[in-house]
Amino acid sequence: MNRRSFLLTSAAALALPRVVLANGETHRLRDFYAPGGGLSDLARALEGKPVTVAGFMAPPLKADSQFFVLTKQPMAVCPFCETEADWPDNIMAVYTQRKFRVIAFNRKIETSGTLSLGAYRDPDTGFLSMVRIEDARFRRA
């Protein structure tokens, strides 16, 4: 391999980890849940992988946090801001890379990060989640 192409290839390889967006496909929240409850095959297949999900930001539980709830429809009241109950199939917990400015609950966003499954109780808020996007960033759709 000649020196130039080697350098170009390694530069490209170095750049890769910063790209969070997956294969460009934007999923819907409902893609991750099976009808009648439970996780879909897609959710299990994408566990631990980068995903991009369209949705809305529910009004945050507290200010200045690195956490919000992603909802499939605009919801003005944080759906499910209790610490327990059945995990509904219309939300996902999002843990962001950095602190963010709150977006209006009815402005569509796309959130990208790593899909994480399984029960996890947030130490700060006590919020129990079953599906999360971690290390997330988002942008207006």
């Binding site: 009808p35 009648g36 499939k72 429809q73 059945d86 009815n106």
Partner: protein
């Protein structure tokens, strides 16, 4: 369908009858619209008042299903069957009797489900937000309840020896079903009353008290969390809303011998012979929307089961049943027409099954709404424009809509339906707190998505009710007492007259 049989029969009589001023037959005499209308005239002429005493009465309330919401649901159901939708007839729309209903509460131009529920179930208008009490009560103030409670239709029918029941897809302690058994200065006292309030019990306790007293024999809906304490985890993992240690479900099963159902399996296992009271609590809070329903019985399932149970229990004395489609209203509040129309379709299915299981001769069936919402419709859309989708232009050379979209002044298309206010508002809160925005350019695919919120004008976290009239449809004994434009509390009076007529 009964309607078509009547029209075919009537055709033979009809076509000869209509002539012009000179006695010649009209050029439009063979037009389908013309002949159908002629058949309708014959059907109307053949109507006879039913003055039998009503053995059974079924009051079916589609919460939030005013004339507009009902219209959207008609088109949806018709389009699901492959038609244009406009010509479709929902089961209640074939009932012979109809009136327009004025829904305002004593202190509210725009009513809520509690004041309207009390009007229908107790025969008086009262303030918004309160159940089973008259307008002298101040909302939330326990000290004003004494001397101001009213009897409910379930209580009156039970005293007459009838079996009674309530079915709802909302929490069974929510305003509409609560108006069947509870007396509360606030509709929100579902699982507890404020400290210091001794003059009344919470609504869930009042339900179990009513079941103990034999006033209510069957109660099915959502709201399980209002029946057990926070220390007890419900069947589907939810925490209770009551004080620790309290368990009204255990009281119902252990002390009243009730059958308790919480999912399809336990629902299907419920006794149908009236031998036990039946308490169904199928979700921690409201039951799921029909569009999302999983391990829960449908409204039609619950209605059919309740009718059979109450028939068995009531025997020769008959029964009274209140059925509520509780979540047409919730989907409207959410600005999500796709779920509105599907829940109303579930109600229509419940109406059909109630009709099928009972006899017009002795059963009065009333289908109505408690109030309308802020839903409205745009034009000028051609036939077959998806009621959930974009407004396509009328085709002057055909019947079905053209392929061209109607475009607004901003150069973008628009949906047939929209809301005046709600979470679908195109005015979005900006950084700094101001609200502005422009209409998104929506595609047909987006607009017909199940989660889509139709565009709205005024931003509100929850879309509002409206004070417009709703319709009441009725068939059976004394259904003809519904006519003209009536106050909503008259609904009670028709039921009472039908049940007590000589």
């Amino acid at each position: 369908m009964k309607h078509i049989a009547t029209s075919v029969l009537a055709l033979a009589v009809a076509s000869a009858a209509v002539a012009d001023g000179h006695g010649n037959s009209l050029p439009q005499a063979d037009n389908e619209w013309f002949t159908s209308a002629q058949a309708e005239i014959q059907a109307q002429l053949a109507k006879r008042d039913n003055t039998n005493r009503a053995l059974n009465i079924i009051l079916m309330i589609s919460d939030g299903n005013g004339v507009g919401t009902n219209y959207a649901s008609r088109l949806f159901a018709g389009q699901q069957e492959g038609g244009f939708g406009d010509e479709y007839v929902q089961p209640h729309e074939a009932f012979p009797n109809l009136a327009l209903v004025k829904t305002y509460n004593a202190n509210a131009q725009t009513p809520d489900s509690a004041g309207t529920g009390t009007a229908m179930m107790s025969g008086i208008k009262t303030k918004a937000g309160i159940v089973g009490v008259n307008q002298n009560v101040n909302r939330g103030d326990c000290s004003t309840i004494k001397g101001n409670t009213v009897e409910t239709f379930n209580e009156i029918m039970s005293e007459m020896g009838k079996a009674t029941g309530i079915v709802s897809t909302a929490r069974i302690t929510h305003a509409t079903p609560a108006s069947a058994y509870a007396k509360s200065v606030d509709r929100n006292f579902e699982a507890s009353v404020p400290e210091g309030c001794d003059a009344q019990k919470d609504i869930a306790t009042q339900l179990i008290d009513a079941m103990e007293a034999g006033v209510i024999d069957v109660a099915m809906g959502g709201g399980r969390r209002n029946f057990h304490g926070s220390d007890i985890i419900g069947e589907e993992g939810g925490k209770g809303r009551r004080a620790e240690g309290e368990n009204l479900i255990a009281r119902a099963t252990d002390e009243l011998g009730a059958h308790y159902a919480w999912n399809l399996e336990s629902f299907n296992a419920a006794p149908m012979d009236g031998s036990k009271p039946v308490l169904g609590l199928f979700h921690g809070s409201h039951m799921q929307y029909e569009a999302d329903r999983g391990d829960e019985p449908s409204l039609a399932d619950m209605t059919a089961a309740a009718i059979k149970m109450l028939e068995a229990k009531g025997g020769d004395n008959g029964f009274f049943l209140q059925v509520e489609a509780g979540r047409v209203d919730h989907a409207n509040h959410g600005g999500n027409l796709a779920r509105v129309v599907r829940d109303q379709k579930a109600m229509a299915d419940a109406v059909a099954i109630a009709d099928e299981l009972t006899d017009d001769a002795d059963t009065l069936i009333i289908v109505t709404a408690d109030h309308e919402h802020a839903l409205a419709f745009n034009g000028y859309c051609g036939r077959g424009s998806d009621i959930l989708g974009l407004c396509y232009k009328i085709d002057g050379n055909g019947i079905a809509h053209s392929d061209e979209l109607e475009i607004a002044s901003d150069g973008k298309p628009y949906t047939v339906a929209g809301y005046l206010n709600g979470p679908g508002s195109v005015l979005i809160e900006q950084v700094g707190g101001e609200y502005f925005g422009s209409r998104p350019n929506v595609s047909q695919e987006e607009a017909t998505d199940i989660d889509y919120l139709q565009q709205a004008a005024i931003p509100k976290s929850s879309e509002t009710h409206s004070g417009e009239d709703v319709a009441v449809y009725a068939k059976g004994p004394f259904a003809h007492l519904f006519d003209g434009t009536i106050e909503q509390n008259v609904v009670f009076h028709v039921m009472h007259h039908a049940a007590t007529a000589e």
